[in-house]
């Protein structure tokens, strides 16, 4: 397909230099080890396979979160979002959660979404914390703008940290953003940010060999809890 590269470069938003997120491993409540690592742009088509079944789950706003995340990941894949990144959690190679965001400026981060594919293990909490760790400790930003679409997200981020309300509109829906500052982050860090580095070689090898996906029905059951029907 012919492409006007000059126009393409105009259409591509600015990309800041972004140091990589150093992978870590977290022990979950069930004793399993979750490897948290940064996704590569080339991983997006595979990741979308796990996002797709969540598009059809109304419970806890999974449909909205998934639809937006799907678009954000596609936009990253095809260079239509500014300075974006994606972190993922894997247990025994299986994708169990995804978080993403981007740099608004060098000093301000924009949190996008947190999608826990396996529930009940605080995977969302762990991955959201990893996302904030990336913004504050590795991208060295001053603050991150955050909104929640679900009551669960509100409880996890706004209340547990607790975040600071602002009147700054967030690009996800235009509602008022909440702010994670460096002061709030480092105060919350001892009780919310965990994980060990480096990732042991055997776990790393399993995680990077292949991103495994549960089938659609399993993902829906894990999220919607449709047992007994």
């Amino acid at each position: 397909m012919a492409m006007d590269m000059e126009l393409e470069m105009v259409l591509r938003p600015h990309q800041y230099e972004m140091p990589p997120y150093p992978p870590k491993v977290i022990t979950l409540a069930n004793g399993k080890k979750m490897v948290v690592r940064q996704a590569e742009r080339e991983d997006v088509p595979e990741i979308l396979k796990s996002v797709h079944p969540c598009l059809f789950i109304e419970r806890d706003y999974y449909d909205i979160v998934s639809a937006r995340l799907y678009g954000e990941l596609l936009a990253w894949y095809r260079y239509r979002v500014k300075s974006a990144y994606c972190l993922m959690g894997q247990v025994e190679g299986f994708l169990v959660g995804i978080v993403n965001g981007r740099m608004e400026t060098e000093k301000v981060g924009m949190s996008y979404h947190t999608l826990a594919i396996d529930r009940g293990l605080r995977i969302g909490s762990h991955l959201f914390a990893a996302k904030m760790e990336y913004h504050l400790e590795y991208l060295h930003q001053e603050e991150v703008l955050i909104v929640a679409e679900s009551p669960i997200g509100f409880r996890r981020w706004m209340i547990e940290y607790p975040l600071e309300p602002t009147k700054i509109p967030h690009e996800l829906g235009g509602g008022d953003s909440y702010l994670l500052t460096r002061e709030i982050y480092f105060k919350a860090k001892p009780r919310l940010v965990v994980g060990e580095r480096p990732v042991p070689a055997d776990l790393w090898e399993v995680a990077t060999r292949e991103i495994k996906f549960a089938d659609d029905d399993t993902i829906r059951e894990q999220i919607a809890g449709l047992k007994g029907r």
Binding site: T27, A29, L121, R191
Partner: protein
């Protein structure tokens, strides 16, 4: 003990339960009806034959803005003109409803009674559900100060730790045991195994299992659940050719304690549990050592330990050690909460007391799969704990010898 005159023996001839959890798609009435139909089917009863219906529920008036559940359900089930009543006794509503059903038969007023307990709590946020449960605390000396049941349990745990040497490790052992059993129970709300490393030893445990009401942590508490369970009771002398081994309610007991915790001379002494269990054992002419399996009200892990002592399975201060030593697991001295308990099966408050009886009936019929079934179980105990121990019911159930 008052009221020891001879009663008609009452048997449980049908049981039914629906999976506990979050049931967004069902109304409370759907859940009550579905579990009732399962129990009626299990009992081999069709449309007729039920003289009375008792419905246990704590919060439909608050959460669903619906009252008169029994009147609605008796019509929904086409059981008209059977008598019908709703029973509200906090988290002990289920056992209270069974007790009322039992008395209706024992007195000769009825021959066959359907008892169903249900609650739909996930319709509101966890905060609102916690607040609704807290409405049973004293309005001016407890509730107004923001007390919740987890808060009470936290203070109780601290005292119990100081007085009896209970440790966090002992509490964690209850969480792990009961959630492991939940993975084997298709009716359980929580079907997720826990590891000691993940919720206690590893540095990540601070996030995985954060403090909830110190010294209790997240996994020390039962989930907020939707669910329903039902039993069909009948006079034993009316049971002619049972298709399943009948189980009788051999003994029951109920006792109360002060409304507020502060009025108790020793808040760690759950007198109502002791008294209710003693009454049940006395009526059944059995001792704690005769019990083969028990369902205790572990809304919080500490309660399983405390109740195991107060009903007489262990001496005071020994329950936690026994749990840690595996004495309350399947194959142990006295297996407790092989259903997963409230901790894993869940705690739809109005349903719990009924669900406990359903699980014990399955045990005494020897219908459960390997891994949950106590071999040759003959006698079982349930304890349904209302308020913070201010209204407690206990049942001793016995398999009828063929």
């Amino acid at each position: 003990m008052a009221g020891t005159q001879h009663f008609r023996d009452v048997a449980v001839i049908g049981v039914g339960m629906i999976p506990f959890g979050r049931r967004d798609e069902d109304t409370l009435m759907d859940m009550l009806a579905w579990s009732s139909l399962k129990a009626l089917d299990d009992a081999g009863l069709g449309d007729g034959g039920v003289d009375a219906l008792y419905v246990a529920n704590m919060g439909s008036g608050v959460i669903q803005h619906q009252t008169g559940l029994a009147s609605a359900l008796v019509d929904r089930l086409s059981l008209l003109p059977a008598a019908a009543e709703s029973i509200e006794n906090g988290p002990a509503s289920g056992a209270s409803a069974i007790k009322n059903g039992l008395l209706a038969i024992a007195s000769g007023y009825c021959d066959t009674v359907l008892v169903v307990g249900g609650e739909k709590m996930r319709e509101v946020t966890g905060w609102r559900a916690t607040d609704f449960v807290a409405t049973m605390t004293h309005p001016t000396s407890e509730y107004v100060y923001g007390i919740t049941l987890p808060g009470m349990a936290g203070m109780f745990t601290r005292l119990y730790m100081e007085k009896y040497g209970v440790t966090r490790e002992m509490l964690v052992s209850i969480s792990i045991k009961n959630q492991a059993m939940g993975t084997l129970n298709p009716y359980a709300h929580v079907e997720m195994a826990l590891s000691k490393e993940g919720i206690f030893d590893d540095p990540a445990a601070i996030v995985n299992n954060p403090p909830a009401a110190d010294p209790l942590h997240l996994y020390d508490a039962c989930p907020v659940s939707d669910g329903a369970a039902a039993v069909v009771l009948t006079a034993l002398d009316k049971v002619k050719k049972p298709s399943k081994p009948p189980v009788v309610i051999a003994g029951f007991g109920q006792a109360t304690d002060t409304h507020t915790l502060q009025e108790r001379s020793d808040p760690t002494d759950l007198k109502a549990v002791t008294l209710a269990a003693q009454q049940a054992f006395e009526r059944a002419k059995l001792k704690p050592a005769d019990i083969h399996v028990a369902e205790l009200h572990d809304a919080f892990t500490i309660l399983e330990i405390a109740e195991s002592e107060h009903v007489g399975f262990f001496k005071k201060g020994e329950g936690g050690k026994a749990a840690l030593a595996g004495k309350t697991k399947l194959g142990g001295q006295i297996p407790i909460n092989l259903s997963g308990g409230l901790k894993a099966r869940g705690h739809p408050v109005g349903a719990t007391g009924v669900a406990q009886v359903v699980d014990i009936v399955w045990q005494l019929r020897h219908e459960l799969p390997k891994g949950r079934q106590v071999q040759n179980a003959q006698n079982g105990l349930t304890v349904n704990f209302g308020g913070f121990g201010n209204n407690v019911l206990a049942f001793v159930l016995r398999r009828v010898q063929e």
